[in-house]
């Protein structure tokens, strides 16, 4: 048993691999040889983890991946516990469907990060692609719990169909952010692209950097929403984010919608004073 397991990429990945066997809680009962023998798919070819990574340590649910794994997809799929640090960029479908544990990416992440997650936390220090925190293709729900904190910007469909949970974006969000959310909270410190919170039923889209509010949302009031203050305070403390007091203590303009659905959702836009 060791403190942690380190997977060091042996050589740059020239083609994509499916690395959904890198699941920290599964490593807790495996030694080095067993971890190295876990399957990795390179196209239609079944390979082993040890074909791509040098593995040190075993029987630990704390895992560090070293190297540029932007072409390694599905890392931490279904993770239920432990911790994973990706020491660089990560590929798509990172932390899909996780139910617990902590995943941190020090660089960028590809599309579908945190898709269908229901617990745990995912932190991406830089940017993430499309559909962060959204659902799997065809699914009626996006993330149903847990927290995603992205330091940079995200692509389209961030948090789409979210049912519960918290998605924080430190930069901008692309089009259709918080699309059709059922509940939960999406906070964007930067700007949000076109058609925000389109067809959302409930849930909150909080925007500090500017957004074109759709006509299907109606202005309710300008106030200091206590849940935004609570969420931002929590995020600042838990993830050591430096959020300005003006955001935490500020006033927000509340719009109710989407009127094309049950209309119990909201867009809250920060009022710069």
């Amino acid at each position: 048993m060791s403190d942690h397991v380190t997977l060091t990429l042996r050589a740059p990945l020239e083609a994509s691999i499916e690395a959904d066997s890198i699941v920290p809680n599964a490593f807790a009962s495996l030694g080095e040889p067993e971890i190295g023998a876990l399957p990795v798919w390179a196209g239609r070819t079944r390979c082993a983890l040890a074909d791509f990574f040098d593995i040190s340590g075993g029987r630990s649910s704390n895992v560090r991946v070293v190297g540029d794994v932007r072409h390694a997809h599905g890392i931490a799929t279904g993770m239920a516990g432990g911790s994973l640090v990706v020491d660089g960029d990560a590929g798509s479908r990172l932390a899909g469907g996780i139910t617990g544990g902590v995943v941190e990416v020090l660089g960028d992440a590809g599309d579908d990060a945190g898709a269908a997650m229901s617990g745990g936390s995912l932190r991406i220090r830089r940017n993430a692609g499309d559909r962060v925190g959204a659902g799997l293709p065809g699914a009626s729900r996006g993330m149903t719990g847990g927290e995603i904190v992205v330091g940079g910007s995200v692509g389209a469909d961030a948090g789409a169909r979210m049912r519960r949970g918290l998605l924080f974006v430190g930069g901008d969000a692309g089009r259709l952010a918080a699309r059709a959310i059922i509940a939960g909270t999406v906070i964007v410190i930067g700007r949000v692209g076109p058609e925000p919170a389109f067809a959302s039923k409930r849930g909150s889209l909080v925007v500090a950097g500017g957004v074109n509010v759709p006509p299907t949302y109606r202005h309710a009031c300008d106030y200091e929403p206590p849940h935004v203050r609570l969420a931002l305070t929590y995020l600042a403390r838990q993830y050591e984010l430096s959020l300005g007091r003006e955001l935490v203590e500020g006033r927000y303009r509340r719009y109710c919608g989407d009127a094309s659905t049950v209309g119990k959702g909201e867009i809250l836009t920060w009022i710069q004073e």
Binding site: P225, R229, A231
Partner: protein, 305 residues
């Protein structure tokens, strides 16, 4: 045993198990947090007639509260979990929910047993309420006329202790009250402790039942009433003419011991003749706090100074 020339009686305070909740009230500023907390803890001196005992534990800095606003921590004690749940719903609903700008949070997040008082109160929102999960805890957003009231869904239940006490026997009212005030000041802001009586002090110490009125659950502690010295079997020395009691409720024995030690030491002022404690011969509750062992380190060595 004497402390600063004050006799410490060789007796013990007898306390009993209660159930406790810690409620954190925050508001736009200290004033409104305190206004809500004062109402929340109103009419909560004794379970005998108030159904619960409650008081402000301490004021909280913004860095100590979940929403980074000024806050007040309140402890509320009841005889059982069911009763505690009812009191929380009644009191939070009528005092915190009604008070401008307030939010209400659980102060016992590690407690396994939970009461879903916030969930019960959500229906005031008449269907317009909503909830948010932040940090794994659910909070209810109840629309009110100044915006929204944010209530945590569940509150932790702790196994608390009620009825810790000590009694100050003084030469006159003025100096006995000064000693009680010093005691309260020494205990103020100690974590896990409240003094539920007015200003932390009770003058109407009681005995169980009544000599004359059979339906009474409690009646005056005639043995400690100076005006009854010749009429009853008095427990008062001749030079005692005023008696005040501090009643302490705490989250654990250590908190009560720490507070009693500080309070008794502070009360040993000129004009105070003795410190004693209330007990029922060990028949009331399992928690016993012997005065002499609690204040031991502060004693004068057994001689009157």
């Amino acid at each position: 045993m004497y402390v600063n020339g004050v006799f410490i009686d060789d007796t013990f305070a007898e306390a009993f198990p209660m159930r406790a909740a810690r409620i954190v009230v925050t508001a736009v500023n200290e004033r409104w947090a305190r206004e809500a907390a004062l109402k929340l803890t109103g009419f909560a001196t004794s379970v005998i007639a108030c159904k619960c005992e409650a008081a402000i534990e301490r004021e909280l800095e913004p860095r100590e509260t979940p929403d980074a606003r000024p806050g007040v921590s309140v402890l509320l004690f009841a005889m059982d979990t069911e009763s505690l749940g009812k009191r929380l719903v009644e009191r939070i609903g009528q005092t915190v929910l009604t008070c401008p700008t307030t939010s209400c949070f659980d102060g016992l997040p590690d407690a396994d047993r939970r009461l879903t008082s916030g969930r019960a109160l959500r229906v005031f929102g008449d269907g317009f309420q909503g909830s948010k999960v932040v940090g794994g805890d659910r909070f209810w957003r109840i629309p009110v006329m100044d915006g929204e009231c944010l209530l945590q869904e569940s509150f932790g239940v702790a196994k608390g202790i009620g009825g810790g006490n000590f009694i100050i026997l003084g030469a006159d009212t003025r100096r006995t009250l000064a000693a009680a005030e010093a005691s309260v000041a020494a205990i103020a802001n100690m974590p896990g402790i409240i003094l539920p009586f007015p200003g932390g002090v009770a003058r109407s110490g009681s005995k169980v039942g009544s000599r004359r009125y059979k339906s009474l659950a409690a009646s005056t502690n005639d043995a400690y009433c100076p005006t009854l010295r010749p009429l009853t079997s008095s427990s008062l020395p001749d030079d005692v003419h005023s008696v005040l009691e501090l009643v302490l409720d705490g989250l654990d024995e250590q908190s009560i011991q720490r507070a009693m030690r500080a309070g008794i030491s502070a009360a040993c002022l000129p004009g105070v003749r003795a410190i004693t404690a209330g007990n029922y011969g060990g028949k009331l509750g399992p928690h016993h706090f012997p005065l002499r062992s609690i204040v031991g380190a502060h004693a004068d060595g057994g001689a009157r100074a």
